[in-house]
């Protein structure tokens, strides 16, 4: 009796059900959870894949940790690998600010290394610091030159910079391969498809890593300050975020696009010089070691933030180092690329998934 009467007084609330709802913004917490979950899924998938291919996963994990962080040699290796990655990651990240994809960092890297090698091999000898500065300048300018055509095409003709930058990287890599194995080949050791050894080397730091890591961090810091605290940087962000607003505010969008792309190419070119004078010391085919390509996932995972790029590049350097130590076990550098691709896909999907949320709503 009482039940019936109370039902009459208070009608049961309307039936509720779960509904998928899309959030306009993703807050920091959700983002971090999404990233954490992606990394977890990725670790599980890679581990399972390696186990299926009958690799000793536990061994690899232990060895990886000692090979990268556990020893001072591993740490040096990681820092050495991180230097070019920070620069190529920053190259992609800075372009992302204005909504541009420079995925041809590989080509600018090659062209930068080529220019630096040219200066080192063919100019009259000079003091090392002077020649290294000259090589860095040449590499940066060469990297910027290699992106001029895609930049102009994008800004004035609307030609997809994604396609042009990538196609030109194939051109640069073939040209460097041709030069190193042909006209510029070392006359002393002609069996090697590489140029003569370049005498100017980046000075080593105390712990064995070379100066490249400091140059990379310095360049990224200067760029970050400029992007975040100057009128120019603000205009770049506005032009990337909302073109209509930028036009209304009188921002010269085309000019900004070209400037940003030139800076992007410059950074990747500088990475080429650092790898040449810090590690390889000879111009040879395959010198980029896919650093240019890896800049894309680094910038994407960092969400376009330059501080983020420095951190994520460190993480990728560890990955690459593991890849190098796994080469003895039959995993090639290309497998590292594949594994990176998997991470990129999971993170892109997780970023999108983080925008969805379940909410209880009343059914009408």
């Amino acid at each position: 009796m009482t039940a019936i009467s109370s039902d009459k007084l208070m009608p049961s609330p309307p039936a509720k059900r779960w509904r998928l709802h899309r959030l306009p913004n993703v807050d920091r917490k959700r983002r971090m959870i999404a990233y954490g979950l992606s990394l977890l899924i990725w670790f599980i998938l890679v581990g399972a894949g390696l186990a299926l291919a009958s690799f000793p996963v536990k061994d690899i994990a232990i060895r990886s940790i000692s090979a990268t962080l556990g020893s001072s040699y591993g740490l040096q290796q990681t820092l050495t690998l991180a230097a070019p990655l920070i620069l190529t990651g920053a190259a992609v990240a800075v372009a992302m600010r204005i909504g541009i994809w420079n995925i041809g960092g590989e080509g600018q890297f090659y062209f930068g290394a080529w220019a630096a090698a040219g200066v080192g091999l063919f100019l009259p000898e000079g003091p090392a610091w002077f020649m290294l500065t000259l090589m860095a300048a040449a590499a940066a300018i060469a990297g910027a030159i290699w992106i001029v055509i895609p930049a102009v095409g994008r800004a004035y003709l609307g030609i997809s910079e994604i396609i042009t930058t990538l196609l030109l990287s194939f051109v640069a890599s073939f040209l460097v391969y041709y030069l190193a194995a042909g006209p510029w080949r070392d006359p002393v050791v002609p069996t090697q498809a590489a140029t003569a050894r370049i005498v100017y080397e980046l000075p080593a730091l105390d712990d064995g890593a070379h100066l490249g890591i400091l140059i990379a961090l310095g360049a990224v810091a200067v760029l970050g300050l400029f992007l975040n605290y100057s009128k120019w940087g603000y205009e770049v962000i506005i032009a990337g975020a909302n073109r209509d607003v930028a036009v209304y505010a009188g921002i010269p969008i085309r000019r900004r696009i070209i400037e940003v792309m030139l800076i992007s190419g410059l950074l990747a070119g500088l990475a080429g010089m650092i790898e040449l004078t810090g590690v390889v010391h000879r111009l040879q085919g395959g010198i980029s070691n896919q650093y240019g390509a890896l800049g894309i996932p680094i910038a994407a995972v960092a969400g376009g933030s330059l501080t983020g790029v420095a951190i994520v590049a460190g993480f990728f350097a560890i990955l690459l180092n593991i890849g190098v130590s796994l080469q003895t076990q039959g995993l090639s550098v290309h497998s590292v690329l594949g594994i990176t691709g998997l991470l990129l896909f999971i993170i892109a999907a997780a970023e999108a998934a983080a925008r969805f949320s379940f909410r209880r709503v009343a059914t009408s």
């Binding site: 899309r22 994809w101 995925i103 055509i149 095409g153 003709l157 609307g158 030609i159 997809s160 994604i162 396609i163 042009t164 990538l166 196609l167 030109l168 194939f170 051109v171 073939f174 040209l175 391969y177 041709y178 042909g182 390509a293 894309i296 996932p297 994407a300 039959g330 995993l331 090639s332 290309h334 497998s335 590292v336 690329l337 594949g338 594994i339 990176t340 691709g341 998997l342 990129l344 896909f345 993170i347 892109a348 999907a349 970023e351 999108a352 998934a353 925008r355 969805f356």
Partner: protein, 312 residues
């Protein structure tokens, strides 16, 4: 001279066939509004997959079927990210390229340099194959060439411009909200055509090893996926123009053949870079020639934009 022209044209047609297949796959994907930058990866996996199947003793036709099924599965995964979850299409595409190129290099290692056991044999079309110059190039090719150059473009052209479904799918790429309001299932169409496009890209990879270069080596695809992406833009997103453009782009690869045959004193690197430089040049020529006109210059209006029903 006649011999040289015949050789060049034959090389151009064979080299262009890869682009015709991959380009048509990308065209189907882009026309429904999805940018698939993963062509290069799909083609790599297709190329290595075809070698594995054929060298295990199966026929080339079976290899194509297996590889296309693989393409459908990979396309479904890509669509799960880009269509269902609406993730960034550029990032997912680059991820697919990395994944495909890297994984193909890994599983292809034991097969690297091995000669493919059986390739598709050329089928001569009576009378036509005896014509001078064009006879050998156009009418004495293997079945995949005929499929990529004739059957597929005609099929896609008819589908796009002569069926109701074609109107629907183009609407999905141009104005998904309007298509949705008219009762077209935007997500289903996008999902489906991303899968079909990926299958064609994988088929283009199989073409590489079953009808073109008779062995798998790492880096065999060598940017052909990106050239195919350029081709779709160059062809104004029209199926028959994709096919014609494929021969034009294929011609860029055939100069190397001519140089080798005649012993031209030019370093081979000039011919190696020609397809890439040529593609960039063609994109510029097209953009310059269409400045100010109202043609479909930037592609389908919704290309690259995920569709959300509540944001109408």
């Amino acid at each position: 001279m006649i011999e040289l022209l015949t050789g060049m044209l034959t090389t151009a047609v064979i080299a262009g066939g890869v682009l015709a297949l991959a380009g048509m796959g990308e065209l189907l994907t882009e026309r429904v509004g999805v940018f698939n930058l993963g062509l290069e990866g799909l083609m790599s996996l297709g190329a290595v997959g075809a070698v594995i199947v054929v060298n295990a003793g199966y026929s080339p036709a079976a290899a194509v079927a297996v590889v296309m099924a693989l393409g459908l599965v990979l396309g479904a995964i890509f669509a799960l990210g880009t269509v269902a979850l609406r993730a960034d299409q550029v990032l997912c595409g680059i991820a697919l390229t990395f994944l495909g190129v890297g994984f193909a290099a890994w599983i292809g290692r034991p097969y690297s340099g091995q000669i493919v056991h059986t390739q598709f044999a050329p089928i001569a079309i009576p009378f036509l194959s005896d014509l001078p110059i064009i006879g050998k190039a156009f009418f004495q090719q293997n079945i995949l060439v005929y499929f990529g150059y004739v059957a597929l473009p005609l099929l896609v052209h008819l589908l796009f411009f002569h069926t109701r479904h074609g109107i629907n799918l183009r609407a999905v790429g141009e104005n998904p909200a309007a298509a949705d309001a008219a009762g077209v299932s935007v997500q289903m169409i996008r999902f489906g055509y991303v899968m079909v496009g990926s299958a064609l890209a994988a088929c283009a990879g199989a073409y590489l090893t079953l009808a073109f270069v008779p062995a798998w080596t790492e880096g065999l695809v060598a940017g052909r996926g990106w050239i195919a992406l350029g081709l779709v833009t160059f062809a104004n997103f029209m199926p028959l123009q994709v096919t014609l453009g494929a021969i034009l782009f294929g011609t860029l690869s055939s100069f190397g053949f001519a140089a080798q045959a005649n012993g031209w004193p030019v370093p081979s690197v000039v011919f190696t870079i020609m397809p890439y430089v040529g593609t960039v040049a063609f994109l510029f020529i097209r953009a310059l020639s269409q400045r100010g006109s109202h043609r479909l210059i930037m592609g389908p209006a919704a290309l690259g934009h995920p569709y959300f029903r509540d944001e109408r």
